[in-house]
Subunit: 349 residues, 2 copies
Amino acid sequence: MTPKRRGQAPRQSDVARLAGVSQSAVSRVISGDVDTARIPEETRRRVLAAIKELGYVPNPSARNLRNKRNMLIGVHTFEAVFPHARDNFYFDFLLGIEERAEETGFDLVLFTSTGAGDGRRRVYRDGTNRLNLADGSVLLGVSTDRAELARLWADGYPFVHIGRREVPGAEIPCVIPDYRSATNGIVDKLAGHGHRHFAYLREPKEMEPYADRRHGYREAVERLGLTDRSPGFRGESELTDDWIDEIVRGEETAVVSESVRLAEQLFQGLAARGVRVPEDVSVAVLEADWGGTSAQWDSLEIPRLAIGRIAVDRLIEMLDDPDQPATSLLVPCPIVPGTTIAAARQRRP
Amino acid sequence: MTPKRRGQAPRQSDVARLAGVSQSAVSRVISGDVDTARIPEETRRRVLAAIKELGYVPNPSARNLRNKRNMLIGVHTFEAVFPHARDNFYFDFLLGIEERAEETGFDLVLFTSTGAGDGRRRVYRDGTNRLNLADGSVLLGVSTDRAELARLWADGYPFVHIGRREVPGAEIPCVIPDYRSATNGIVDKLAGHGHRHFAYLREPKEMEPYADRRHGYREAVERLGLTDRSPGFRGESELTDDWIDEIVRGEETAVVSESVRLAEQLFQGLAARGVRVPEDVSVAVLEADWGGTSAQWDSLEIPRLAIGRIAVDRLIEMLDDPDQPATSLLVPCPIVPGTTIAAARQRRP
DNA sequence: TTGAAAGCGGTACCAG
DNA sequence: CTGGTACCGCTTTCAA
């Protein structure tokens, strides 16, 4: 037994022949512009049957050349997806994107070919934008090259970025975890437990998500009239032994940490000095706590799955109405109760 | 600042006009097949200059259309990918596929549209039809509808299946973990430790991968002149208490199990009867041991990542040469040393 | 209503 | 060597 011609996908003309109509009729049935080209139900049925029998699928490149929709949504990560998916980094985003894409009838193209060969991936290679194959794309990850984002935007390519990215001269449409509000909420919670003297632990990173946390934190401190004399609050990153000593000596009863990593480090340092969490010092973390650490941190949740879904919806909106302004979207981050916040205690009775 | 309108990119004809040559000359300069179309250095320079001046970049869709390739490789998993990836089932396969796709300049299309769906648009999306979107596809997963595979093959669609799948009347090109050889190797190893009387634990599954193990096992038993009177060897699945008793009473010193699950069950049963592994009975497992079980089984490794990569390479070969026979590929499974094989001991001194 | 035909941007074959 | 030209698969007028 021999297969048919190898690798020859059926074309519209094949469908047309089988259905006994012209090629353009097939095209009109598919494009489904009911108002523009009304097609008798009978013809329509025959075409659909032929399409199904042949397993016809429109050629994305040809369509693209003609500037119509492919029903393809691109996903561009700035690093390889799967190695990281395992670490849960891209995972839930992708899950949400996949779910929503399926629900809305889009297929997903994972753009992998744009690699520069060094593990980093770029959108433009040899000056061409591979993303063009898809109707629009969702971008995520650590974009090293802001200029690419700017160019993508300037080219008018429809895309949304997961996570806030600021590029001068461009308005990148983003779907953004609302770290600022969540941080306000977390400080509110601590203040509600009677805390007035705070310390802030800062990661040595300057990306937007951290800026948002810092912004929110400063807001809350000012709004509530709190005290914070920590280096982190002043803009110094990391956590020194000296400062841990200082916390132990000082009036601080609450610490807000940008990361589980720093919170852990603090926890160890305090434990070594006989200071307990949360009995003596309350601690909250401004990122999702994946568990498996020494404490169950009061923290925030990044609704990754929802964000993935929302990104797809946002992209489809942009596809439906290309002239729409490219606005960003904030997605609330729920505050997750842990076991590291307790009532403020008089530190030096 | 406003994004520019799409579709204003310079074309080859613009370049040609500026350089004062024909469009096809431009094409030849770009394609750069120096042997096929030698172009005078002077012309070449002018074209290159014009390209640079206009900022011309080739349109990938047009290229793909002409070359009858979309540089897209499909991945069909018969189930949603990401929920399962988490369980490590598809994961390393996908990782390998992604890696290799990136290296070879292909993008990935994830086909997940197995969904129900009775809407009109659904017609174009039912099942495997969508695969035609990609130049070719890698298929993996368990609940394979054999009829679909047959049709896909009959249609001449280029694809490879990860794992052996036999379909009457079709020659499915597969990338196959070589369970048969690995099983031979494992029995060799046991025999090398002096074992002569074997038992076989059989899973209640009839898919090709199990057939391969059974085939390999039978080969080894016959080749080495071993003894096996176990129900599993005769074709009965599962493990009964009676048979554990029988092993304890009998001459068997080596057990080969199709799964960690059955090996575990045996281990418990033997322990309850005061029989130790591997001191009294050696055990080997014919699947990958993910760890976390009561013993570190002597087992085999399924080189998932390598298989994913090989599948992509195999597919590209088929794309490059469509008339090539659709042969399958065996990938060796390394034997992983554990702590459950020891020298055969005189059972009843 | 429907089919013929003109491209979209490139590639590649084929006479000059 | 080179330019002319026939497609690639699809959308979209434009007549019939």
